[in-house]
Symmetry: C2
Subunit: 255 residues, 2 copies
DNA sequence: TAGTGGTCTAGACCACGCG
DNA sequence: GCGTGGTCTAGACCACTAT
């Protein structure tokens, strides 16, 4: 294969931008423009290395970025091929509903309605996979409001430790993992969240100022320590008319 | 730094398992066991390379896997440190509601209620960012049922091309990207989905066999081609009492 | 057997953080 | 200035695919 290329193809070895990144962008552009179409094969790693007079390892680094982006796939012994965009995934992603509100630049405020120590009832014992009756739990009820409108209501439980007192300052915006790290000897390691839709209860309707039976998001969260022991549990209700989740898929361009 | 280690630490250079992967697992285990705690630094890349008599590039490959897993982070000039598990993300992920049903091993079936060619009204023209009145669209209404219970109802639109006839066989389980690829000259490249909660309409209640006003998931999807031109649109309604989304976060162990 | 991607090496130089 | 991680090289051998 030989080249009479007149487009002096843009790898600047003396640039501060890493070579692998320049090459990644170059190949990405060829794929997005359609110079390389789904199913077609990229030049071999050796071809690319020789073409641009760079090391094959550097070529591999660039290609591995394309693989990570889902734009190509490699097959040992065969070659590297342009992928077909996968559009059948749904990945709803957000950093926390309250951060979402923050991002929109609204005045938001978390209000602590109640904080107390409670005994274990059967439901709690089941949720925390605990047997004895001696355990006590910290219990919180909070409301999130933005622009004087109440948006969500949350109850949280975590295991109570006498030795770790609650500081007033920490009650301002208590996230569940934060509470656990501060008031128990446990280290939060993983969490499970389940999202459902529901009609809100009478109590929730009153707190959020919406009609009874109004549709709401409901997120139940369980926090685990490194032994997969549940060390925190929360249930949050979000107004259905104020929240939505957005998902982008395929070769969506971010930059 | 010197070593009197008696635990002959398990890097087998002649194994079929790549060295970088062995090292990745070794370090991952040390972190999960708590030998290395959040905030602590890993040995330097050179230390690890010398300790196990392997190349520094191989060490870097192992560490980059840890970085990708969110378990460590590297800081140029300082070192590599064990991360604190981030538990404030919510990533709801599924491969498609119908695949979800499939996974549960249920008998599921997609039924085509209606398929026709429609003219562009104002709403459609807005959704497809189109101006003239000459455009026509393919319109589909489908229902998904499992174990003889109707679970979801979906309407789909895509731009109509005379030259690409609809094959009967393709109507059995028509996914929106599939329809677009088959019946238009467009290549689906990216999609945007918005998830909301709602109370179902009278029509939806009848179709799904649930009470009017019952809470439902509502997913609106727009498919784009490489020019970010909308080439498909759908709206799906899912029974709130039959669907939920689950999210795992932190150092959740998969294997 | 030839060609592909996958792993690995033993160096090198650089940018950055810190004392 | 020194130690750290970040990039890059010019080879090497291997596993896999195709012919």
């Amino acid at each position: 294969m030989f080249w009479v290329s007149q487009e002096e193809t843009v790898i600047d070895k003396n640039s501060v931008i890493p070579i692998y990144y320049q090459l990644f962008k170059l190949l990405e552009g060829q794929i997005r423009r359609g110079d390389l179409k789904p199913g077609e094969s990229l030049p071999t790693e050796n071809d690319i290395a020789m073409r641009y007079e760079i090391s094959r390892m550097t070529v591999r680094r660039a290609i591995s970025e394309l693989v990570a982006a889902g734009m190509v796939y490699a097959q040992q012994g065969k070659g590297t091929f342009v992928a077909t965009p996968k559009l059948d995934n749904i990945v709803f992603e957000l950093n926390d509903f309250s951060q979402e509100v923050k991002k929109r630049g609204l005045n938001y405020k978390t209000t602590l309605l109640e904080a107390k120590i409670v005994r274990a009832d059967e439901t709690l014992k089941a949720r925390f996979e605990i047997q004895g009756d001696d355990k006590r739990f910290l219990f919180f009820r909070t409301v999130l409001a933005a622009e004087n409108e109440r948006l969500s209501y949350e109850v949280k439980y975590t295991i109570y430790s006498k030795s770790k007192p609650i500081l007033e300052s920490e009650l301002k915006d208590p996230s569940l993992p934060g509470l656990i790290a501060a008031h128990t000897e446990y280290v939060p390691m993983s969490s499970k969240k389940v999202l459902q839709v529901a009609s809100c209860t009478q109590e929730e309707a009153l707190i959020l100022g919406i009609p009874p039976q109004a549709p709401v998001f409901l997120i139940e969260q369980t926090i685990y320590n490194s032994d997969l022991k549940p060390v925190g549990w929360s249930k949050a209700v979000y107004r259905g008319d104020r929240y939505k989740l957005t998902s982008y898929d395929g070769w969506y361009k971010k930059d």
